[in-house]
C-alpha cells in the first residue's frame, strides 16, 4: 500500500504542476499535452504503469479490508474511538469516491467521451503545429458548476485521503520515528492543504472567469499580439528568436 500509494502521490503532484500551466499562455499547456501525446508508446507505458499501480493499490486495500473484517468475526456492542483520526477511519469512503472520480475524469479528459465533440476543440500553436486545445477543453469542462463541484469535492477527498496515507506510508516502512513524527505530521498537513488549494485554484479561476478561452474560433476574436495580460508577448518573442515556419517569414 505504501509503495503504490507513494507512486500515485508522485503522479498527482506532477499532474497538478502540469495543470497549473493553465495560468500561462494557452500554448504552454497545449504544447505540454502535445509533447505527452507525442511520446506514443512511451505514454502508454506510463499510463499502463500508473493504471496497474492504481489497481494494485485498490486490490491491496480490498484484501486488507477483508482480512481485517475476518480478524473480528463478532463485533462489540460498544467501542469508542480514542486516537484514530477521521481521515484514517474514512479511508475506504474517500478512496472509493476518488476511484469513481478517476474513472469519470479519464472519460472526461483522456478518453473524451463524456461530452460532444464541441467540448474537445483543436488549435494551432504559434509555430503552426496543429494540436488539441487542452486549454479551452479544461475551461469548457468547468463551465458546468455541477462538474466543477464534483472535481473540487474529489480533490478535497483525495487530499483528506493523503492526510492519513502520507503519514501512514512512513510508519509502514519504519521511517516515522519519535524524532520527527510531529514534524512529519505538520509537513503532511501543509502538503495536503497546498495540494487541495492548487487544484481548487484552477477550477475556481475558470468559474470566476479569471482564465478565459483564447482559441480565436471559440472566443470569436483573436488576441492582440501586444497584449501582456496572459503572456502572449512571451510567445511573440518566441516568434522573433526561434525557428519560424517558412510561410510566416514572407
Amino acid at each position: 500500500m505504501a509503495v503504490t500509494g507513494f507512486i500515485l502521490f508522485g503522479f498527482v503532484i506532477g499532474h497538478l504542476i502540469g495543470n497549473l500551466q493553465i495560468f500561462a499562455h494557452p500554448d504552454k499547456i497545449n504544447a505540454y499535452a502535445h509533447f505527452l501525446e507525442a511520446l506514443g508508446p512511451g505514454l502508454w507505458l506510463i499510463r499502463l504503469f500508473l493504471l496497474a499501480t492504481l489497481v494494485i493499490h485498490v486490490w491491496l486495500a480490498a484484501q486488507l479490508t477483508l482480512e481485517n473484517k475476518a480478524a473480528r468475526p463478532e463485533g462489540y456492542q460498544n467501542q469508542i474511538t480514542m486516537r484514530a483520526t477521521m481521515a484514517s477511519r474514512y479511508m475506504r469512503v474517500s478512496g472509493v469516491i476518488v476511484f469513481a472520480f478517476i474513472i469519470y475524469h479519464l472519460l472526461h479528459f483522456t478518453v473524451r467521451k463524456t461530452h460532444g465533440p464541441e467540448a474537445y476543440p483543436n488549435t494551432v500553436l504559434i509555430d503552426g503545429t496543429a494540436v488539441r486545445d487542452v486549454h479551452s477543453m479544461i475551461i469548457l469542462g468547468f463551465q458546468d458548476p455541477l462538474i466543477s463541484i464534483f472535481y473540487i469535492l474529489a480533490v478535497g477527498l483525495l487530499s483528506w485521503h493523503l492526510r492519513h496515507g502520507l503519514v501512514s506510508m512512513f510508519q509502514s516502512i519504519g521511517w516515522r520515528t519519535r524524532t520527527w513524527s510531529n514534524a512529519l505530521n505538520k509537513i503532511v498537513l501543509v502538503v495536503c492543504v497546498t495540494y487541495f488549494l492548487g487544484n481548487t485554484l484552477i477550477v475556481a479561476a475558470v468559474m470566476m472567469g479569471q482564465v478565459r478561452i483564447q482559441n480565436p474560433q471559440l472566443a470569436g476574436y483573436a488576441c492582440r499580439t501586444d497584449c501582456e495580460i496572459c503572456g502572449l508577448h512571451n510567445a511573440a518573442k518566441i516568434v522573433e528568436t526561434d525557428d519560424v515556419p517558412i510561410d510566416n517569414q514572407s
Binding site: T81, M82, T85, S88, Q171, G174
Partner: protein
C-alpha cells in the same frame, strides 16, 4: 454508590452469549473494578446463580491477566491503567456500565469475560527469546548499553501482554504487542544474533494466529495500560523490511 452492569454472559466457547443486567448497590468508590465484580459475584452465589467469570491474577497492574472491554474501551475509562487498577470512583453513581470480553478471532471467548489469549504465547515461542551462553555468570556490565537504548528497551519491556492493543484495534491487529516484544530484544546487544529471524518469525506467527493488519490508527497505543508507543511498530516495520531485503541476498544453506 449504585451502578447497573450490562455484562456479556456466555456458557462456553461453543454457546451463544448475550448481555445480562445486574444492579450492584452499596459499593465503595475506592473498590477496584474487579472488587466490584467480586461483590456482584458474592450476591449471585448467594442467590444460587452462576457467578460472572472474569480473568484476574496479580490485581496490581503488572501481570496482564485482567481484560474486559469496559464502556467501549479496553481496561475501562482511565488512561494507562489495567482493569484491576481501575477504581469505581472513575464512574458516577447510577451509571450503566457495559462490560464485554475482548473480541478477536485470535482471542476466542471461553466463558463470559474470559478469552483465550494463548495466541500471544505462540508468538512469543516463535521469537521472544535470546540465545544465552551456558555456564557461570558473565561479568556485570561486560556488554555496554547506552542509557537511551536501555530506556527505550525498558519502555518496550513494559508490555504485560494483556491484549488491550488487539481489543482496541479496529482490525484486531497485534502489531503493538509483537513490536514491543520483538523491539525490546532487537534493541539490545543480547538480542542481535536472532534479530532478523525474530522479526520475521514473530510476524509470521502473528499472521498465522489470525490477527488483522495494521492501518496505522494507533488505537492500540491509546488503549495500552502501559502506554507503549506506536513508535515500536515503526521500528518493527523497519526491522522486518531490513530482514526481508537481507534474506533475499543472504547465502543459502547447502
Amino acid at each position: 454508590m449504585k451502578i447497573t452492569l450490562r455484562v456479556w454472559r456466555q456458557k462456553d466457547g461453543n454457546s451463544k452469549g448475550k448481555f445480562e443486567e445486574y444492579v450492584a448497590e452499596g459499593l465503595n468508590p475506592n473498590m477496584s473494578f474487579l472488587e466490584m465484580l467480586d461483590v456482584v459475584n458474592e450476591n449471585l452465589i448467594e442467590k444460587g446463580e452462576e457467578p460472572i467469570a472474569f480473568a484476574h491474577d496479580c490485581r496490581e497492574g503488572i501481570c496482564g491477566t485482567c481484560s474486559c472491554m469496559i464502556n467501549g474501551k479496553p481496561h475501562g475509562p482511565e488512561n494507562g491503567a489495567t482493569t484491576c487498577q481501575t477504581y469505581m470512583r472513575s464512574f458516577k453513581d447510577g451509571d450503566v456500565i457495559l462490560v464485554e470480553p475482548f473480541r478477536a478471532k485470535a482471542f476466542p471467548v471461553q466463558k463470559d469475560l474470559i478469552t483465550d489469549r494463548s495466541a500471544f504465547d505462540s508468538i512469543m515461542q516463535s521469537g521472544g527469546y535470546i540465545t544465552a551462553r551456558a555456564g557461570s555468570c558473565q561479568d556485570a556490565n561486560a556488554l555496554p548499553v547506552s542509557k537511551e537504548i536501555a530506556d527505550l528497551a525498558m519502555d518496550a519491556a513494559a508490555c504485560i501482554g494483556c491484549g488491550a492493543c488487539v481489543a482496541a484495534c479496529k482490525n484486531s491487529s497485534a502489531m503493538l504487542f509483537v513490536s514491543a516484544k520483538a523491539g525490546q530484544l532487537n534493541l539490545l546487544p543480547q538480542g542481535q544474533p536472532e534479530k532478523d529471524s525474530r522479526v520475521t518469525n514473530m510476524v509470521a506467527a502473528m499472521d498465522e494466529a489470525g490477527f488483522g493488519n495494521c492501518t496505522n490508527q494507533y488505537e492500540c497505543s491509546a488503549a495500552c495500560p502501559k502506554l507503549i508507543s506506536e513508535e515500536f511498530i515503526s521500528k518493527m516495520n523497519r526491522d522486518y523490511l531490513s530482514a526481508s531485503v537481507k534474506g533475499l541476498f543472504s547465502a543459502k544453506a547447502l
